[in-house]
């Protein structure tokens, strides 16, 4: 690797880092409490738990759950109902003034799945965790914010790749793990930056790539709506919404009958919702293993006849989005994994901060030592001096 090559990689590393570091720091810092988002929600909203009851109680009819929510808001429409991923006894009914209402008009009624009793009407769009989550996801800038953060993620990946390339010349004459305390703070922090950076490469790359994929959620869903969903709804194009739709229980039964073994319903969208069209219930099924729990199979049930009209696995790009979620959140390996996730996040923060320090205190002498001086090229080829 010639001095010129090193210089190019150094420039790539420096510039991709400079542009993205502050945003990445924001993401890492807001990410820390988000690892425990679930636990924090449980603590802040104790009413959002299905109460202890006799085990093995059968679930109430889904229509009863819907009715309980409707009773609270008789003039509104039901957009969907869903089962909590961790507790099947806890259900949420999503309601809004109309099907055309903006997304943030949707609110939730939490209902016990066994008794159909209303538990609470949580508002997820308020509080400290709401602010932290929204900052992390899109900096309160909607789709533009998401895509911008996605670009920052891509810059981080370029910084990681260039960082790994630069690890070689910097560590050429040092044993792994060397931290030179005797050469002053800058050298010490450089060695720390290199060590902590290189040992977390795999984790940070996975969290970064899955983070970027998650910023593409809106376009991915749109592509699905105009692609697979439109295809499944083609036979119904132009047909008006049914005047007397069947009960959601009929749709639920039809979908479960057709479902592959091991698939359970994750959520059901109602006719008029953008996820199943004017004429259908969308019963979205999922698997029960860590991996398949995120992979959805929509079963479209005709709301007029109550019969299944189509059922397909969602396409690969939706799967990629859903598989990216556990890999990004670190919530699939129990409490020890969450703790490790937080510690690895803290190390990443140190890598970013030491990197920032190194940039702010950069001096021409250091760069010359690396053989990056504009005057004359020095070969940094490996093994040549041995």
């Amino acid at each position: 690797m010639t001095a010129r090559t090193v210089r190019i990689w150094y420039k790539i590393h420096r510039w991709t880092s400079i542009v993205s570091t502050l945003f990445l720091l924001m993401l890492c810092i807001t990410g820390l409490p988000l690892v425990f988002h679930h636990e924090i929600q449980h603590y802040l909203h104790p009413e959002l738990e299905a109460p202890e009851m006799a085990p093995g109680m059968p679930p109430a009819p889904v229509a009863a759950v819907e009715a309980a929510a409707r009773a609270l808001h008789p003039t509104e429409v039901v957009q969907f109902l869903s089962w909590d991923e961790d507790d099947p006894n806890l259900m949420f009914v999503g309601m809004a003034p109309s099907h055309d209402a903006p997304l943030d008009a949707t609110h939730f009624v939490a209902v016990d799945a066994r008794t159909a009793a209303v538990l609470a009407e949580p508002n997820f769009n308020e509080g400290v965790m709401y602010v932290i989550r929204t900052l992390h996801v899109d900096m309160f800038a909607g789709i533009v914010g998401k895509l911008f953060l996605g670009v920052m993620g891509l810059l981080m990946i370029a910084a990681i790749v260039s960082g790994v390339v630069l690890y070689a010349p910097f560590m050429r004459r040092l044993d792994f793990g060397t931290i030179r305390h005797e050469r002053g703070r800058r050298t010490k922090w450089l060695d720390m930056h290199n060590l902590l950076g290189i040992v977390t490469v795999a984790w940070l790359t996975v969290v970064g790539v899955t983070g970027v994929i998650n910023t593409w959620v809106d376009p991915i869903i749109k592509i699905w709506q105009f692609g697979q969903l439109a295809d499944m709804l083609k036979p119904y194009e132009g047909k008006p919404a049914p005047a007397a739709p069947v009960s959601v229980d009929v749709a639920y039964t039809a979908a479960k009958a057709a479902a592959l073994p091991g698939n359970i319903p994750a959520f059901i969208t109602y006719p008029g919702s953008m996820f199943s069209g004017q004429h259908h219930f969308g019963v979205f099924l999922r698997g029960e293993t860590h991996l398949t729990t995120k992979l959805l199979t929509p079963a479209l049930v005709d709301a007029e006849t109550g019969r299944l009209s189509d059922m397909r696995r969602m396409p690969w790009y939706v799967d990629a989005l859903f598989v990216s979620q556990p890999l990004h959140f670190g919530d699939y390996g129990g409490l020890p994994m969450k703790i490790l996730w937080v510690l690895l996040d803290l190390i990443s923060i140190v890598v970013l901060v030491t990197g920032l320090y190194l940039f702010l205190t950069r001096r021409k002498t250091a760069e010359r030592q690396l053989g990056l001086a504009a005057d004359g090229e020095r070969a940094l080829s490996f093994g040549a001096a041995e």
Partner: protein, 62 residues
């Protein structure tokens, strides 16, 4: 006869061998918990703890 290329490769491996194995075990750790529970979770925790243990060891020693 050790050519310059062999010396180059050996030197590169000397620099990257430990980071390489840490990256491999980290990746294994990320995937195993995804495909199952119990023992697979435990393997995942051990693998993901390696970068932390290695960092602590070298940061603390003087």
């Amino acid at each position: 006869m050790t050519t310059a290329k062999t010396r180059q490769a050996r030197s590169l491996w000397r620099v990257f061998s430990v980071p390489f194995w840490i990256a491999v075990t980290s990746s294994i750790g990320l995937v195993t918990a995804l495909v199952g529970d119990g023992l697979l979770d435990f393997i995942s925790w051990v693998c993901l703890a390696i970068p932390l243990v290695v960092s602590a060891r070298y940061l603390v020693s003087k």
